[in-house]
């Protein structure tokens, strides 16, 4: 339970801490919660079935069981959340924002909500935490964002809120029984999984979840909120959105959507993979055509997650391992890229790539570290991106080789837009900026990112061993509790 309580306490305390100490306080909170999560991970044996965090052993008359806990799948997300939150706080450390009490409080609030999403073992609780995450990220973007943020934020909020309502509908349908199903005993995940769905209701329930997750991932036709929101949010907001909130949806697909309605997975598999593929290609082309460097990386994010979404619905252990490695890689790369964008923007005031250039000469350290992150984004071998994309593309290829070929082109596109952005901003004729090099906290963020990226790239077994038993068990549960129509 301390996983959730510590950030909550920090969030509350942030409201009363004096301004001068605020950034040290934020950092201390980030380090504490990251350490707690890592200790949990160290003491967790991957073969353990399930660790309960909170279980009152009691269900309200309405079926809310309040169960919280984690297995390998949840724990890896918990560790990821806490480490990324620490990196976000660290990368804001020398900015004025870090001394703002509301900002610090909201980051911790977001952390609590995300941890709640990842550790809820109860459908309604999951939904509640899922919705709560909207509030802090919305407030961060509203208070500290760019001037044009209001329209973008309304679009973002409505889009995701409507998506979530569809999920709520699906949860209610599965709990109370629809199309002649028996109702579930409670919202606890095992009770919901035990419901045998008819073909018609499984289709609706899967669709409800898919809508919520497709908006948040974002999958191809539901992505229109994303570039505007990313561009108009402050750095921390963009990082929270891309590195963590997006992972909520991917996690939700693995933990909730597929286990609850696997009956209709077969009929949704091809559409999701095709949408993912379209997203990969379409967003990559848009990313290549962008002039705004932040927008480029926003579209790059859509392009990368399309592949992950396609990998999830394949429902085999290998590509799911790829999903996890790639999710972690995507978070690390997103933090790195958006930090680099923010460094450029805050020092030159420009995001337009045609007006940038020659930064590498003035800030060689920055150029080096940006380059490392860019290479990880391109999935060069020895970085975590390579492992993840390799496993995913291989999975899709064995499902259908034509789609595999198309989706595999992400590696080429990725190189094009990332290197283009890197080259246009870093090299070329110098534009006479006064560009101070990295400060220590920015350097530290890049350094930690590089260490993690290389470790995962060389030894992905670290993650795979951690997650694999839980994933295997989850798949077995899906097969045993439901009669799958193959």
């Amino acid at each position: 339970m301390e996983l959730l309580i510590i950030p909550s306490l920090f969030a509350l305390a942030a409201l009363v801490i004096p301004r001068n100490f605020m950034r040290y306080f934020g950092l201390a909170g980030g380090v504490t919660s990251a350490v707690v999560a890592i200790v949990h991970a160290v003491y967790y044996a991957p073969t353990t079935k399930y660790v309960s965090l909170f279980d009152p052993n009691w269900t309200s008359t309405f079926g809310l069981s309040y169960k919280m806990g984690y297995d390998g799948i949840s724990l890896i997300m918990v560790v990821l959340t806490n480490v990324i939150t620490l990196l976000i706080l660290l990368s804001n450390f020398n900015k004025e924002l870090a001394s703002n009490k509301m900002f610090t409080a909201m980051v911790f609030f977001m952390q609590v909500a995300l941890l709640g999403v990842f550790t809820s073992m109860d459908g309604l609780l999951f939904y509640i935490f899922w919705e709560i995450t909207l509030i802090p990220v919305f407030l961060i973007a509203l208070w500290f964002g760019a001037p044009g943020r209001k329209q973008a934020l309304i679009k973002f909020f409505i889009y995701t809120f409507v998506g979530s309502l569809a999920m709520l509908l699906a949860l209610m349908a599965i709990k109370t029984g629809i199309c002649g199903n028996l109702p579930a005993a409670s919202f606890a995940v095992e009770d919901l999984m035990a419901v045998q769905l008819s073909a018609c209701s499984a289709c609706w329930i899967f669709g409800g979840f898919l809508f919520a997750f497709a908006v948040k991932i974002p999958l191809f036709p539901f992505h229109t909120w994303q570039p505007d929101t990313y561009t108009n949010s402050p750095m921390a907001g963009t990082m929270l959105l891309s590195a963590l909130m997006l992972k909520m949806a991917l996690y939700g697909m693995i933990r909730w959507m597929i286990p609850l309605a696997p009956e209709s997975l077969e009929s949704y598999k091809l559409p999701i993979i095709i949408l993912g593929t379209i997203g990969v290609v379409y967003a990559a082309i848009l990313a290549i055509k962008q002039n705004d460097i932040k927008r480029t990386f926003a579209f790059a994010s859509i392009s990368h997650v399309g592949l992950i979404a396609a990998g999830i619905v394949l429902l085999n252990v290998d590509s799911t391992m790829g999903v996890f490695v790639q999710m972690i890689n995507h978070s690390l790369v997103a933090v790195g890229l958006f930090l680099a964008v923010d460094i450029i923007e805050s020092r030159t005031g420009i995001r337009n790539m045609s007006e940038l250039g020659g930064i590498a000469k003035q800030a060689p350290k920055f150029a080096f570290w940006f380059g490392v992150v860019a290479l990880a984004s391109i999935s060069v071998p020895l970085t975590s991106g390579f492992i993840g994309e390799f496993l995913l593309v291989r999975g899709v290829y064995s499902y259908n080789w034509i789609i595999g070929l198309v989706i595999g082109s992400t590696l080429v596109y990725g190189a094009v837009y990332t290197l283009r952005a890197y080259q246009l901003s870093m090299y070329g004729p110098s534009k006479n900026f006064n560009f101070p090099d990295l400060t220590w906290n920015e350097w530290l963020v890049f350094f930690i990112l590089m260490v993690l990226i290389v470790i995962l790239g060389v030894y992905p077994q670290l993650v795979i061993d951690f997650v694999q038993p839980s994933v295997t068990r989850l798949f077995e549960n899906i097969h045993s509790s439901k009669i799958l129509v193959q």
């Binding site: 509640i128 909207l134 509203l142 409505i158 809120f161 409507v162 509908l169 109370t176 629809i178």
Partner: protein, 455 residues
């Protein structure tokens, strides 16, 4: 019955105590009367005295549960309104007495057992509101509201009476249980008198709760009335009307469910869309609240359409959560005290008065149904009960919740925003202690009440 008498007498007392020119005395009497009324209502139910059943009135679990929140809401409205009564101290007694009389009517409407008491209750509920809607005599819109409400309301009452007469013609009784028994016994062989009467009563009810297509009075009346009256109408009057609606339709006319449910479903959908789509472009706060309340009526109608043993509880929970949000928001609007009642006046509230702004955000998000606030759980209970019988109706309601988030969110953003630099800064608003208490109660209820609802 004791509760009714206590509240009525405290209303009378406050009317006469107003001569003492000491507004706090009136407030004290009224609050004491309301609390005593609440306690007696509760004990009466708890100890099951034998005089729980009177000729025409019956305080069963339904009446007590709804009656208690009616009393609570009235108390909150009185506390909120006290500081704005102070501008016209000579009217404090009138206001509070009329509020209490109206509450008496609401309690009758929750506990009647025959059509006669129902009609009396409805009139006792409405007439003080007609008066109070026009109480802001300097404002032409207030007079307009009063006149409009009175004319249309009187017409609706007429239709209702006519409907009751038709029902009497068909069943030869005013008593609810006799009508219920008659309808069940004569399954399928009813005379058309009953159907005509039912439709008339239905349309009168739709008028009273403000459902489309009988909703046209509500934006104008909400907009024109003083804030307190608007809050009272949104919370207590709606509660009384819905209580009676449920008593008559879900119990007495349950045998004719197949006849009225399809019509009511269509009207519920219409109500949701009308309320939501009209609310999108509003610039005045109370009009927005009126249209939002129309939408919420649409959601609440689901509990009446769905035939289930939990319907009454769901309706109760829904009105409970709705009332707290509305009273909180109305209190905030009273604190802001904008002459034109513009939504724009909310701009930057959270920077001027952090706590007031916070409650405003809670109220708005709760109306929008964002978890973990109370409004979410109210909606959740209603929808999850309805989904088993009317999945498509719930799907439409969910779409409407999605539309609704737009205008609530626009206001939330306004509350959170900085004020424009070029305009003169609005000074910090003074918040009287009593309103602070109301805001605190609303905030606590909205934050933590939801969990209580689904226990």
């Amino acid at each position: 019955m004791v509760a009714l008498i206590v509240i009525f007498i405290s209303g009378l007392l406050s009317l006469f105590l107003a001569f003492a020119k000491k507004p706090w005395l009136v407030l004290l009497t009224a609050s004491a009367g309301l609390i005593a009324g609440g306690i007696s209502l509760f004990t009466q139910f708890y100890y099951q005295y034998d005089f729980i059943h009177y000729e025409g009135l019956k305080f069963d679990g339904f009446a007590v549960a709804f009656g208690l929140i009616a009393i609570l809401f009235t108390l909150l409205v009185v506390l909120t309104g006290y500081s704005s009564f102070k501008d016209k101290p000579q009217h404090t007694g009138d206001y509070i007495a009329l509020l209490l009389f109206s509450l008496t009517g609401a309690l009758c409407m929750l506990s009647f057992t025959d059509m006669f008491m129902f009609f009396l209750g409805l009139e006792i509920l409405s007439i003080p509101i007609y008066v109070m809607a026009g109480s802001n005599k300097d404002d032409v819109r207030s007079s307009e509201a009063s006149l409009k409400y009175f004319m249309t309301g009187a017409f609706a009452t007429g239709v209702l009476l006519f409907g009751i007469a038709w029902i009497y013609g068909g069943t030869a009784s005013f008593k609810l249980d006799e009508i219920t028994a008659f309808i069940y016994n004569a399954e399928g062989t009813h005379s058309s008198l009953i159907y005509i009467g039912l439709l008339m009563i239905l349309s009168a009810f739709l008028f009273k709760v403000g459902a489309a297509p009988f909703h046209f009075w509500s934006p104008d009346v909400y907009d024109g009335s003083p804030h307190i009256v608007t809050g009272f109408m949104a919370a207590v009057v709606k509660l009384g009307a819905f209580g009676a609606f449920m008593k008559i339709f879900s119990v007495t006319f349950a045998g004719l469910h197949d006849f009225w449910a399809p019509a009511l479903s269509v009207l519920a959908i219409l109500t949701m869309f009308v309320g939501n789509l009209s609310a999108l472009k509003q610039i005045r706060f109370k009009r927005l609240l009126a249209y939002s309340s129309i939408t919420h009526v649409g959601y609440a109608l689901l509990t009446i359409i769905v035939q289930s043993p939990d319907s009454a509880f769901n309706l109760w929970a829904y009105i409970f959560s709705y009332g707290f949000s509305t009273i909180g928001l109305i209190t905030v609007a009273i604190i802001i005290h904008d002459e034109e009642d513009r939504i724009e006046a909310f701009r930057g509230l959270v920077r001027r008065n952090p706590f007031t702004g916070f409650v405003a955000i809670l109220g708005l998000l709760s109306l929008a149904g964002v978890p973990p606030l109370m409004g979410f759980f109210g909606k959740f209970l209603v929808f999850s009960e309805a989904i088993t019988q009317y999945p498509w109706l719930v799907a439409i309601a969910i779409i409407n919740s999605g539309i609704g988030i737009f205008y609530y969110l626009r206001m939330v953003i306004l509350v959170l925003q900085k004020e424009d630099d070029d305009k003169p800064k609005t000074p910090r608003h003074k918040v009287p202690v009593l309103q602070m208490i109301v805001l605190a109660i609303c905030a606590l209820a909205l934050l933590f009440g939801g969990n209580m609802l689904i226990f």
